[in-house]
């Protein structure tokens, strides 16, 4: 099915990379031909700007700006990730192009990686771009209320905002990978939308609800850092508290199990890509199985 017989060697590696690059290039062309993504970026910029304007945190520095943006980000970034990813693998499968592609020497994994890379690049442009712009605006405009006294920046620093931007990437990547998995599992566009919305809500709310539930049912409080770290939102929030906002407090920390949170975000990403690959690779067989079951039940 895939190149199981590969014996390694640089020629083989180059061929694989070439295949991924081709898929990547094709997918990027698809993305670039979708003007909606540009609108999405502009809309996100407006939303972030509006949030800061209403919240007022950006007037004085990066840390209060991050405080204002944090909870909005927890909703918006997964949403954008799903918009970018929910059809990524579905369209080719639906239109039969995937079947054509598979006649070329491109492995399923290579295909998935190529698509995900292109989508990830698009996601970065759509999400990190506006956030970076907002950061630039804060940098240019944030100032103390009054200049009659001596001022200093405290711990507030563009570096903290850069940390925040840095955390957006794995957080978004985790959701993008999950979205891609959704697109691989779904068999129709409507189905993809339905599953994506479900996954989005489950991700944004469900993870934390599960933590709350497990605490309510007697989990020990000491388990919180670990439990929190296991969901993408919890891991992201904990890491922002720990490495951005918390810096303004006396050095105590402990908002989340840092290593575990970082690993968790990577695991969600890798897991999403893995599920996508598996779904594309074995989905047809499962479909056949299911269809068989359905036929039998229907009769």
């Amino acid at each position: 099915m895939t190149d199981l017989g590969a014996t390694g060697g640089s020629a083989e590696t180059r061929r694989r990379v070439g295949a991924v690059a081709t898929v990547f290039r094709r997918e990027l062309a698809t993305v670039l031909r979708t003007p909606g993504y540009g609108v999405l970026a502009v809309g996100l910029l407006a939303l972030l700007g509006g949030t800061l304007a209403v919240g007022g945190g950006g007037d004085t520095g990066f840390v209060p700006a991050v405080v204002d943006l944090l909870l909005v980000t927890e909703v918006v970034v997964p949403l954008v990730a799903f918009v970018v990813g929910y059809r990524a693998l579905l369209v080719d499968a639906e239109s039969g192009e995937l079947a054509v592609i598979r006649t070329y020497p491109v492995s399923v994994a290579g295909y998935v990686v190529g698509v995900v890379l292109a989508r990830a690049l698009a996601f970065l442009a759509i999400v990190v771009g506006p956030y970076a712009l907002i950061g630039g605006v804060v940098w240019a405009t944030a100032a103390p209320d009054t200049g009659i006294f001596a001022t200093h920046s405290g711990v507030d620093s563009p570096l903290l905002y850069l940390r925040f931007l840095g955390l957006l990437v794995p957080f978004g990547a985790a959701y993008l990978a999950v979205a891609t998995a959704v697109s691989a599992v779904a068999s129709s566009r409507r189905g993809a939308v339905a599953i994506a919305v479900l996954a989005l809500v489950a991700g944004v709310l469900g993870g934390d609800l599960a933590v709350l539930r497990s605490l309510a049912s007697g989990a020990d409080a000491s388990a919180i850092p670990g439990l929190l770290a296991s969901t993408p939102n919890g891991a992201f929030r904990g890491l922002v508290f720990e490495t951005v906002v918390g810096v303004a407090f006396a050095p105590e920390g402990g908002f989340v199990a840092v290593r575990r949170a970082a690993v968790s975000l990577v695991a969600w990403t890798v897991g999403g890509v893995g599920v996508s690959t598996a779904a594309l690779a074995y989905g047809a067989r499962i479909d056949v199985l299911l269809e068989g079951v359905r036929a039998r039940v229907a009769e």
Partner: protein, 710 residues
């Protein structure tokens, strides 16, 4: 699209550029994690540019002489302003008060001024003195002398040195021990706070009682005595002497000059310790200069009406002359204000008693200068209709004044005090002044249980930065502003402020604003200081156009632990009252008490997402106020109701019982669940913060219950 055409020739290069950018961004982000922003160490700034907290440097004893308070400047992690503390111990006291770190973050770096080469010493009064400070050095590099003979006006003081050897030399001369920073910061110091001022307010009232009782005691100073063989009636004007002035001139010390009913057209000079006791007598000056001038100690004036006062309000000539020859820091004002005409003018006349006197004047009513410590009771001053035409009801310069049961109508300021530490103004009525009571460089005063109406600018104003004033139980209405008191360590409590332009401002630093009622003002309270350092708690805000607004500066947290203020409207909505933080400066919260629909906006997910973390880094935010624990009901419902009634008589709650009484007293009037105010151990730092007692947790869960046991 030309640049990023995936099938174009240059795509490879574009991709490479993107990849390089990505790597750079990755490296930068990694760098952002590697760098530690908390190790930033800004250099010390000029102290005058720091926002000053701690003790006041504008007290008499400090401005007049060579005494100093060692100063500290602190750079906090969240706060954008550099904070200066007068007194190392003032800063140390903030280290474990729980509030400072909550509001400003932790100190990134602390500098102290050192006195190695500044000829440090101790004044005769026991204050620390030095010719100059030598340099600012990080606090952990200095050596400190603790427990020496040197004190600050508020108590113990710590003297920092750059070299341990000079510190040891100072300790050898003036006692005390040399400690490192680590030991100093762990100590607790006996230093006065606003809570001290609160606990002392009833005592000041009692002291005024004593002053008045002493002044009125018959046969003590002014009472008719057997001196000179006069009979008990004393010298009677019209019988024993033709004029009051002649009678006073003829009278022996401690005699009484009796002034029968009638109008006496003359001016009087008193150079002897006598009592002038009128009986519906009117003294009418010639419209030039002052009517009665007192230049002797222990003079009593009673039962008089005075008019015909000159209309010169100050003397630029005297100001110029004296400024040339001596030029102390406020000569100009003192002489300008202290040398006008007055109904009664007292110069170096301690022990003056003015009782049952009425004065019509377009200049000052009573002018006290040069240590004319006076007791004034039942004084009535009618000033000019327009304040620009008149002057002060009572002008007190370097004189400790006690005013009670008096009435000041019209004119510029009802009572104007300048360097008049320890003065008491109480039980008096002020109508239609510019300012009702106006203090300059005057600390440790008590302004209590007065009523102010229609003051053009404000009821009570304290300017400059004095310390330790208590403003308690006053009722200010229909005025430009209720209370605007700057300074440090002030106590502003139990005042009722209704229908003013502004209820009160929190201009005084390190102060306590509690149990005030602001009803129907345009703005209930205004947060002015750039760096919040005061406690604002248990006040009631009802029916104001805006409950509160804030000037520039860091976010103010108006609560004490889990105990906040009552804001009408804060409980609107479906929440359990007190569950949601209230932000009087936020557009939605600000109108909750006028528009119920605002509650629905407030519960929107968007508002919730923004609000939820709002107060996490208060020091880094600006221009607003948040009360994390708004009270479910008014602390003083009785006063709120009375203040809402325009015809109600002035309201003066029984604050003396609450502040000075037992540990569980209750506010006078309706509210039986009102929390109590426990008298504080003035040197117990925990007494001023919001530590919740264990008992509170065991309680029935009622908020009021928890407060009651604090």
């Amino acid at each position: 699209m030309a640049i990023i055409d995936p099938y174009g020739e240059r795509f490879g290069r574009v991709l490479l550029a993107v990849a390089v950018l990505g790597v750079l961004a990755g490296v930068a982000t990694a760098g952002a994690y590697a760098a530690d922003p908390s190790t930033a160490t800004p250099d010390p700034v000029a102290y005058d540019d720091a926002v000053e907290l701690g003790l006041s440097s504008e007290t008499d004893e400090l401005m007049a002489g060579s005494a100093r308070i060692p100063r500290v400047q602190v750079f906090y992690s969240q706060l954008q302003y550099v904070v200066g503390y007068n007194g190392v111990e003032s800063f140390v006291a903030t280290l474990d008060d729980g509030r400072t770190e909550r509001q400003f973050g932790y100190p990134l770096v602390v500098y102290v001024e050192t006195f190695d080469g500044g000829a440090p010493g101790v004044t005769d009064d026991g204050l620390f003195e030095a010719e100059r400070a030598t340099e600012w050095i990080p606090a952990d590099e200095a050596a400190y002398v603790v427990g020496s003979a040197a004190h600050s006006p508020a108590g113990e003081t710590v003297v920092p040195f750059a070299e341990r050897s000079t510190a040891a030399a100072f300790a050898a001369d003036h006692g005390g021990r040399v400690l490192e920073w680590g030991a100093v910061r762990d100590r607790s110091f006996a230093v006065d706070s606003a809570a001290t001022v609160r606990s002392m307010a009833p005592a000041r009232w009692a002291e005024a009682d004593e002053r008045i009782a002493d002044a009125m005691a018959p046969g003590d100073d002014g009472g008719a005595g057997g001196t000179g063989g006069e009979d008990d009636r004393g010298i009677v004007v019209g019988e024993d002497a033709p004029t009051i002035d002649a009678a006073v001139a003829a009278a022996p010390p401690n005699a009484t000059v009796v002034v029968p009913p009638g109008t006496y057209e003359e001016t009087v000079t008193v150079n002897e310790s006598v009592t002038i006791a009128g009986d519906e007598a009117r003294v009418r000056g010639d419209g030039n200069g002052s009517v009665i001038t007192v230049r002797a100690p222990d003079v009593t004036l009673s039962g008089l009406s005075i008019d015909g006062v000159g209309n010169r309000t100050r003397d630029p000539e005297a100001a110029r002359e004296a400024a040339e020859e001596d030029g102390t820091w406020d000569t100009n004002i003192q002489l300008g204000y202290g040398h006008g005409d007055a109904g009664i003018r007292a110069i170096d006349a301690p022990g003056l008693v003015v009782d049952d006197v009425a004065i019509e004047t377009n200049a000052s009513g009573v002018l006290l200068r040069d240590g004319s410590d006076a007791v004034i009771r039942n004084l009535r001053v009618d000033g000019s209709d327009d304040w620009r035409d008149g002057f002060m009801g009572v002008t007190g310069m370097e004189s400790r004044v006690t005013v009670t049961d008096s009435r000041f109508e019209g004119g510029r300021d009802g009572v104007y005090l300048h360097r008049a530490d320890g003065s008491v103004i109480r039980n008096s009525t002020f109508v239609g002044n510019r300012y009702g009571t106006h203090l300059m460089y005057t600390g440790d005063a008590l302004i209590a249980d007065n009523a102010f109406r229609n003051a053009e600018f404000g009821g009570i104003t304290v300017m400059t930065r004095p310390s330790g004033n208590a403003i308690v139980g006053n009722d200010v209405r229909d005025s430009g502003a209720g209370i605007q008191a700057s300074g440090t360590r002030s106590y502003v409590g139990y005042n009722t402020l209704a229908n003013n332009g502004l209820g009160f401002s929190t201009s005084s630093r390190g102060s306590l604003y509690e149990r005030n009622v602001a009803v129907g003002n345009e703005v209930g309270a205004h947060a002015t200081t750039v760096v919040p350092s005061s406690r604002v708690v248990a006040n009631d805000f009802v029916g104001n156009d805006r409950h509160a607004e804030a000037g520039p500066g860091a976010l103010r947290v108006w609560a004490d632990g889990d105990r906040g203020n009552y804001w009408e409207g804060a409980t609107v909505g479906l929440h359990e009252p007190g569950e949601r933080a209230y932000r009087p400066t936020a557009p939605v919260d600000a109108v909750l008490h006028r528009e119920t629909a605002a509650a629905a906006v407030r519960e929107s997910p968007a508002a919730a997402l923004l609000d939820r973390l709002y107060g996490t880094v208060p020091g880094a935010r600006s221009g607003s106020i948040v009360d994390p624990a708004p009270a479910p009901k008014p602390y003083a419902p009785g006063r709120v109701a009375a203040a809402s009634d325009p015809d109600s008589p002035p309201i003066h709650p029984d604050w003396r019982r609450e502040l000075g009484g037992g540990s569980r007293t209750e506010e006078s009037g309706a509210d039986t669940t009102t929390p109590t105010t426990t008298i504080m151990n003035t040197h117990e730092r925990n007494a001023t913060d919001g530590t919740v007692s264990q008992a509170a947790i065991a309680g029935a869960g009622s908020r009021a219950d928890a407060e009651g046991r604090r």
